[in-house]
Structure formats: C-alpha cells, structure tokens
C-alpha cells in the first residue's frame, strides 16, 4: 500500500506525521519511507538513517553539432519549454529550461542533435533501523525538481509492505508526481485561514488525481473551526486531530521523535492507521465516497 502525505500549505506537519507514523508502524510491519521533498528533504533529520547507496539522477540534454545544423529551426518550434532557439545558423540551448523530452533530437532532419545525460540531483537509499529509507536531493540552483521526485517515487514499486511518501508542500508538479497513483493520501492542514485556503487547493488536486484522501488537522485548537466546517460540507473525513502543544514543537526542533517522547500520541496514530485501512480496504467503495 502506498500512503502519500501531502498538504497545500507548507509547515503543517507533513514530515512530522509521516516520520512518526513510519516509526510506529515499523514495529509491526515492513515500512519504506520515501522523502519526495527533494528541494528540501528533512525526514533524515528525524529518522537518522544510515545511507548505503547514492546515485545520480540525470536528464538528457540536447547537444547541437553545428557542422550538421542547417538552421531549419524545427527544434525551436517543437520545444514546449523554449529551451532551444534557432536564429539562422545559430542554435542556442538553455539546459536549465530543458525538461529532457528529446523532441528536438527526434525531429532534427539533419540528425545534428544528440543527447547527453546531465546530472540534476541524487537519490540515496539506506535503512533507519527497520525502515527502508529513500530520499532525493535536487542539485542547488537546479529548477527541475520533478524528475528527481519521480526517480524517488518509482522506488515504491520495489518495496513490500507499507510505503509512506512524504510529499513536498503545494500542489504543483513535484507534488502531483509524489501523490499520483497512491492508494491513499493524507492531507495535513492547520485550522487557520491559510491552512484552509491551501487545503482546498490540495483537495482539488487529490480529486483530479482520483486518489482517495482524508484530512489530518495539526495544531488543533490554535485557530478556528472553518477547516472542520469545510470538511463537513464536502464530506471529507477528518481522520486525526493533533492538539497544539509547544513541547511537540520543541521536540521537532531538536530532531526528536514524537512517538518516543510522547507515547500518548501513539494511540491517535494507531487509530489513524485503522481508519486509513478501512477507507482503502473494506468494501473499497468507502474510499471513493468523497471523490466527486
């Protein structure tokens, strides 16, 4: 089972929830943890894995052979990202705009374009006690996070048992790549106007992806009831509420593990897991009921 943990708003507690759920469930089942927030991965700060492998993630980049180019401009025409331009016999490439689709090389009638791999990030794997740990890290200054996310997310297939995917914040391409084809998605939010605004965006995304989902309200008691009202109106289940507690924040800031330091939180997480299993399994139809 692939369980994605996402949120619209950043800083709602995705990683905290993902890490602590993984720690607790790994006591009784095989668990893999995929940190897909490749622009700022941080789950390793809490799980403290031993990294065993590190490999480069690369994208093909077009290289133009000026001797063969006849300046027809087909490459520039096809490029959806404006990453290759043709001015007469001059062809310019912009690697940081290139998404590596290969269209230019395919269409070049002179076969003047070849592709060479260009490193854009790394993928690391290891173990945090019994938890299989995989994360990606996009190179600094590199604007292309999604291919690195996809490389990490693909590892979900190689893993038995529960796969917990810690998604990046927001609702853009890297998040879609993380959540897509998951069995269930937890949307973590907080009871504030910002939390609600971004939750609505995340709900729209989950519905579009046809991934069943439920909501976790973190820092409950801090704001207002509008998130709960919204969920009731939309028929979205609220699976867990974690009360705001300054000690939890302090534990997080130290890189601590909440389920170890505050064992009373384990109960809520166990119930959360049962609810997820009911939503996903059971009669199967239950999970789809809050899909439109």
């Amino acid at each position: 089972m692939i369980l994605a943990i996402a949120s619209g708003k950043g800083g709602t507690g995705k990683t905290t929830l993902a890490v602590n759920l993984a720690l607790l469930l790994a006591e009784t089942m095989p668990v893999a943890f995929l940190d897909c927030d490749v622009e700022e991965p941080n789950a390793h700060l809490f799980l403290k894995p031993t990294i065993e492998t590190c490999e480069q993630v690369a994208l093909p980049e077009p290289i133009v052979d000026k001797a063969r180019c006849n300046g027809c401009g087909k490459c520039a025409e096809i490029c959806a990202f404006n990453a290759i331009l043709a001015f007469g016999d001059q062809v310019l490439t912009f690697p940081e705009l290139c998404h590596g689709c290969g269209g230019c090389a395919l269409l070049c009638p002179e076969e003047a374009i070849t592709e060479e791999p260009r490193g854009i990030g790394v993928l690391e794997t290891g173990w945090a006690d019994r938890i299989r740990f995989i994360h990606g890290r996009v190179d600094i200054g590199m604007p292309l996070a999604t291919p690195v996310v996809k490389a990490v997310r693909k590892r979900a297939k190689d893993t038995d048992g529960l796969v917990i995917v810690d998604a990046p914040p927001g609702t853009s391409c890297p998040v879609v790549a993380s959540v897509k084809d998951s069995d269930y998605c937890l949307l973590v939010t907080e009871p504030t106007p910002f939390g609600l605004n971004d939750l609505e965006l995340a709900v729209g995304m989950a519905r579009e992806l046809k991934v069943p989902f439920g909501v976790v309200i973190n820092r409950a008691g801090l704001g207002d009831d509008k998130v709960a009202d919204y969920c009731a109106r939309e028929g979205i289940p609220i699976l867990l509420e974690v009360p705001f507690d300054r000690r939890y924040a302090a534990c997080y800031a130290r890189g601590g593990q909440l389920v170890r330091e505050f064992p009373k939180l384990q109960d809520g997480l166990r119930k959360l897991w049962l609810r997820i299993r009911m939503e996903v399994g059971g009669n199967g139809a239950g999970a789809a009921c809050h899909q439109r």
Binding site: F81, L92, L97
Partner: protein
C-alpha cells in the same frame, strides 16, 4: 528596419510594458513605411522560458531592435545571439518610445537588467 516595443495594448497609444518576456503585446513598427502590427505575447502564460520565447518570436519577425524596460538573463543572451539590439525605456506610450528612439534618446543596453523571473506575477 523593424523595431519592436513591449506594450500593454495593441496600438501606438498603448502604454509600454516594462517587462520583456511577460509583456502583454509586442508592437512591431516598420520604420520605413511607418506601419505597425501588434501581436499578443504568448509568453505571458508560459510556465518557463518566456524570455527565450519572446526573443525567438522577434527574430522570426525580423525585428532588428526592441525597446523595453527590463530584460532577464536568458532573454538578454537570446536577443544578443539573434542580433537584436535592446533599448531601454520603462514608461510612456509606444508612440513616445518610437519618437525617443528616432531622436537617439534611448540608451542601448547589453546584458540583463534584472534577475530571472523578474516579470512574473506583477502587472
């Protein structure tokens, strides 16, 4: 010679658009015939590469120069490669920009004048 002006509208009386890649329109004026054409800029909604797209567009239209406010690094490199000279003027109408250009009042700029993504999300 054809010269392009980044504009917020499609006529000579439209206000200039200080952005290059994310401008609303390119108004392209033929200085010999005094005729002009306006093109909505498809780069406004591009997810990326608006500057390079704009440069390619102007090159395809045989523009020899452009009058605009701000040029990002990719646009500057593209315009330079295309041999399109860049003249700086941040406000006024398209007509005023043309007059200023004809009177030799506009400074020519080389290289970028702003960081990347400068023209995104602002009007």
């Amino acid at each position: 010679m054809k010269i392009a002006i980044t504009a917020q509208g499609s006529t000579l009386d439209a206000a200039m658009d200080p952005r290059f890649g994310r401008c609303e329109h390119f108004v392209i004026v033929d200085l010999e015939t005094e005729s002009y054409e306006a093109f909505p800029n498809e780069g406004v909604m591009a997810s990326g590469g608006a500057g390079t797209q704009g440069a390619q567009f102007l090159a395809n239209k045989d523009a020899a120069a452009v009058i605009t406010g701000h040029v990002g690094p990719n646009a500057a490199r593209s315009l330079q490669a295309a041999g399109i000279n860049v003249y700086s003027m941040a406000s006024g109408t398209v007509r005023e920009a043309l007059e200023a250009f004809k009177n030799g009042e506009l400074p020519e700029v080389s290289g970028s004048t702003v960081r990347r993504h400068f023209g995104m999300g602002r009007k």
